[in-house]
């Protein structure tokens, strides 16, 4: 059989039963009625016992949202979303915000175990690779539907002054910080989905790294959508003060459902002088089935502000899931000598649509940005890189380098590259390169002649194609990501 036909068959076989995170969990839920109006916003706020200023902030955002239009410039197509047909609040029934792991519903703990996310601190320690012995454990905040269910290692972190907790908790424990920074990077009216999130966000993670502190362990949030017909609107806020450093990881899965589920998150990062934030995402929301039925609509606004001199924000993402991905993790480079990075692998198969990229706004002098994007399209999917590099008038000596590569697998998919380069400063230098190619027959044959199966050969070549991005991921994530790529693409080449 010709390699093409053979591999297309394998794709079909894999993609039918391929989403391994698709089980759902039976948990008693506390749900708001369907629909969105001021009362729902008030309800969410009151469930969380929020201060008046926050309710006001939400209501303002809701008013803005009603005036905004859903953006239509991305290369994605979907049936209109009925915003009144969703639950905007869903939480496991139990008292809010368990104070310790013992209070967490055992069903939930079991689910996270099944997903391979160890919430028990001793389990994490036991799970650490003994090879190097010194690898610090990872602190995890687990967000289930709309609320944070557990945060590990809080006490250990507190000793070094690091705050890592659900944002719903931070609103009460550190109101001054939340009030100062919330919406300061992504204003409530920034775009349609950001406004929606600002009105109804339920939970998410809050991180604060004080002056001069290097966070002693990787921080991680694990998002899981479980309930039917719920939207997930988490909100993450990370602040790193002068000279601080943090590496933050984010993972996502959802059960296999026939209907589409909406996910509209907002992530805000603030890096002050000499601060560094490394934000890594492995996004594996349910992508829908082979015919494009079901799957998550992922409309996410992620933005970091490099406010201080020499600060650095680095985004790394591996996007394999979601029916629709609309996501542009960006950096606003304000501080002189600040650095923005965006490393992305986006894989689309079947009927998935991804329109993803970044924005690098150079404002300060000698700011520097690097963009490396690797798009892989297979099946009948469409995969678009969309990225803006803007050099403002005073950004003397600014530098940008962009590399966008697309790999097409099969002749029914699309790969698109849409960069916007706007330069207003003669001393700035920008460079953009883009290529499109496929896995060459001779590469596959070469690998198979050496004894690799067709699937292994594809995995090897695709991982090679993505290497410049994968090497930016923390070790544990890199291994996961490689496996995920292999699973997503198993056999899809000819």
């Amino acid at each position: 059989m010709a390699a093409v036909a053979e591999t297309l068959d394998t794709v079909a076989a894999v993609t039918e039963g391929g989403y391994k995170w698709g089980f759902s969990t039976d948990i008693e839920m506390d749900m708001a009625p369907k629909g969105l109006n001021e009362d729902i916003v008030r309800l969410i706020s009151s469930r969380k016992n929020e201060p008046a200023w926050l309710l006001e902030w939400r209501l303002k955002a809701f008013a803005l949202w009603k005036k905004l239009d859903e953006p239509n410039w991305a290369k994605i197509h979907h049936a209109p979303i009925d915003y009144q047909d969703l639950h905007y609040y869903a939480a496991p029934k139990k008292k809010q915000g368990p104070k310790s792991l013992d209070e967490v519903d055992p069903e939930l703990l079991k689910m996270y175990e099944k997903l391979g996310i160890p919430l028990k601190e001793h389990a994490i320690l036991a799970g650490v690779e003994p090879v190097e012995g010194e690898r610090p454990p990872i602190a995890i905040d687990a967000v289930f539907d709309s609320v944070s269910v557990a945060t590990t290692f809080k006490d250990t972190l507190a000793k070094s002054g690091v705050i890592f907790c659900p944002i719903s908790e931070a609103v009460h424990s550190h109101p001054e910080l939340v009030r100062q920074y919330l919406g300061s990077v992504v204003p409530a009216g920034d775009n349609y989905f950001a406004a929606l999130n600002s009105a109804v966000f339920s939970d998410g993670s809050f991180v604060f790294i004080p002056k001069g502190v290097r966070c002693p362990m990787e921080l991680s949030t694990y998002f899981r959508i479980n309930a039917r017909n719920t939207g997930q609107f988490e909100r993450t806020l990370i602040i790193v003060e002068d000279g601080g450093h943090v590496s933050y990881l984010e993972g996502c899965t959802a059960p296999q459902r026939d209907e589409n589920q909406l996910h509209a998150a907002v992530v805000e990062l603030v890096a002050l002088t000499d601060a560094t934030i490394k934000y890594s995402t492995v996004q594996n929301w349910y992508p829908g089935d082979a015919d494009g039925k079901g799957g998550i609509y992922n409309f996410v606004t992620k933005r970091g502000a490099c406010r201080g001199a020499r600060s650095k924000i680095s985004w790394t993402q591996v996007e394999t899931g979601s029916a629709i991905t609309w996501k542009y993790p960006s950096c606003v480079l304000i501080g002189d000598g600040s650095v923005g990075e965006f490393y992305s692998v986006a894989v689309t198969t079947n009927r998935q649509q991804a329109d993803t990229g970044t924005k690098m706004i150079h404002i300060g002098k000698n700011t520097k940005s690097t963009i490396v994007s690797k798009g892989i399209s297979a099946g009948r999917s469409d995969n678009t890189y969309r990225g803006l590099v803007r050099i403002m008038k005073n950004a003397d000596g600014a530098r940008n380098f962009t590399q966008c590569d697309s790999l097409l697998i099969g002749d029914q998919c699309g790969a698109h590259t849409v960069p916007y380069i706007e330069s207003r400063n003669p001393t700035a230098k920008t460079e953009h390169e883009a290529t499109t190619s496929k896995i060459a027959e001779d590469q596959l044959f070469y690998c198979r002649q050496r004894g690799l199966s067709q699937e292994d050969a594809v995995g090897l070549i695709v991982n090679g194609f993505c290497k410049d991005v994968l090497k930016e991921l923390p070790m544990e994530f890199a291994v996961e990501a490689q496996k995920l790529l292999a699973v997503s693409l198993e056999g899809s080449v000819g």
Binding site: W73, I391, K393, S406, L408, I409, G410, D411, Q412, C413, G414, A415, H416, T417, V418, P419, Y420, I421, E422, S423, R424, N425, P426, T427, A428, K429, T430, E431, H432, E433, A434, T435, T436, S437, K438
Partner: protein, 420 residues
Amino acid sequence: MSQTTLQASAQGFLARYAGLKSRFPGDNAQRAAGADAFARHGLPGPREEAWRYTALRPLAETAFHEPVILLSDTSAQLTALALPDLPRLVFIDGRFSAPLSRLPDGISITTGAPAFGHIADNGEKLVALNTMLAEDGAAIDIAPGIDAGTILLVSLGADAHGHPVSFHPRHAIRLGQGARLTLAEINSGTGVYFNNPVITAEIAEDATLVHLREQREAPGAFHLSTVFAKVAARGTYDSFSLALGGRLARVQVHAHLAGENAMAHLNAAQLLGATQHSDFTTTVRHDAPSTASRQTVKNVLTGHAKGVFQGKIEVARIAQKTDGYQMNQTLLLSRDAEIDSKPQLEIYADDVKCSHGCTVGELDADQLFYLRSRGVPEADARNILIRAFLSEALDPIAHDAMRDHMESAIAAWWDKAPTP
């Protein structure tokens, strides 16, 4: 920009059409369809993705009138262009001037009415405007197998009406199988006017159209032109556009590679100073297997100039073995100049080789120093480096007379441009 300025401007053009429609020459059905489209869609606005970098506000704020046929002598303006000694078609304010023209022997050329051609207009608003108000144009037909040499196509804005005029010439070029033509366009003029030409080019199997375009409109002029080139198997559309003039200019080139092994070159150079705005926008549609496209676009910007490049390579599912390449490079020579660049790939076939590149920067300080250390004065050193920067776009022009003409136009532009 306020939507109403654009709408008011569109209303002005529509009113002109309403007053003149019984007197326009040529195909009235097509004209009416164009007017209908223009009435519905108006002028392109800033919220359209294709127009995000070029705002037509200055154009919309100017009222343009229908030019009348001139009786005054414009030959001095023509002489000043120092045209190469070649057959030429001269249009004054968009109307064919027989006395100033010199027709080539043995080639079928019709003038006196717009030549609408046979290529669909893609819903382009500027083309609808042209269709609605087109007064004149040249239909050039080259029979199969004929090498028609070079024809100059000259457009002059004469500035003889006392108020701004707009003209909308419509030319159609057809090359039979294996035919060959070099069409060298020179657009120039004085005063304030709006030149809105549309050219359709149908290139049959194995035929080659070389299209060289020199845009040196008056400093107060508007130039918004559109080219549609449809290329059959093994045919070639080889174009180079030089933009030097105008207050607000946009050149749109849409190449459609419809047959196997068809080929397109869409090269350009934009040299802009003062408050000039110039936009070079292209799409290449690869619609058949083994087609190839090459684009090298160079911008040199000084003063408060704004340059725009938008280039899209589209590869249809059927167009396997496509080879598409696009390079856009910009030299920013002043603190107030600005470039917006949007190269795009839209690809639906897997066995293709497509790439694009884009760089923006200033002159290389090391190179400049190297030249000066060898005794070259700074101004000369800069000129040498800028000319070197342009060479990738200019050197492929095989037509010596036209390349020389463009080189001297560039030299003249450079002499006048403010030193940064």
